[in-house]
Subunit: 128 residues, 2 copies
DNA sequence: CCGTATCCTTGGTGATACTG
DNA sequence: CAGTATCACCAAGGATACGG
């Protein structure tokens, strides 16, 4: 049965929200070229907190996009790896990341233009 | 200059966050087949509040992905349309929506499996 | 090394009402 | 019809400390 992401109550919209959320694209992207350890991911995703990384990984694991393997060595060693299901989203997410990287300058320009055009009715020295 | 979305301070990460945010994929998707009025968008995106739609559209306009045209008829008429820049993200976002619609069932299954496997150390009648 | 628990702050989001 | 303004709230997310 094909669902419609435009329908409010459709569960697939939650799924869209999930893959389109802040860190998902980066985590999945970093797992593209093989399994990674927790620490590796943490280091690569500059600025992510331990909490958010754990949370993102849990969600992805629960949704079946990645697997989590524990090697009971000392010290502990945990690896995350994309599943077949997870590899299915890899491509669109990569395209999104690439687009962001390639079009940043155009967007920055657009912003400047927009912000300069906005203050049309700006009074010379009013408070707000 | 090519930026890296994995770098904390890279402005292109903000851009990634933007296109990957809750409503963006749906709004842009709905504009794929031509200009739409505010009300049309509102009706199509079931569950979006007026505030969030306005906010999403403003951001997209500011970033140069869509244009906003006002026809001073009575009653007022406003149309939103994708720019060339905006049409550049159309494809990956469509792929994402499609993936969500097609793989929802697999994900639902994975969740069930995960949730049933979790309560391993569940005590018979503990609080919490 | 990997993860959980807790506290605490912020802002995203919806509901509602009002204006051009 | 489109949009702004205000309020109120819950949950996302960071910092920190502790545990396996």
């Amino acid at each position: 049965m094909i669902r419609d992401v435009y329908l409010k109550m459709c569960p697939c919209r939650d799924l869209l929200d999930m893959v389109a959320s802040k860190w998902t694209a980066l985590v999945i992207g970093d797992l593209e070229d093989g399994p990674k350890r927790f620490g590796e991911l943490k280091r690569r995703l500059e600025g992510i907190s331990q909490k958010m990384l754990t949370q993102t990984l849990r969600t992805l694991e629960r949704d079946g996009l990645i697997t989590r393997t524990v090697y009971p060595s000392v010290p502990l060693r945990v690896e995350y790896e994309l599943t077949a299901l997870g590899r299915g989203v890899t491509e669109p997410l990569a395209a999104l990341r690439l687009w962001a990287q390639q079009n940043y300058e155009s967007v920055a320009e657009a912003r400047e233009t927009f912000d300069n055009a906005e203050p049309m009715g700006l009074a010379p020295a009013t408070t707000r």
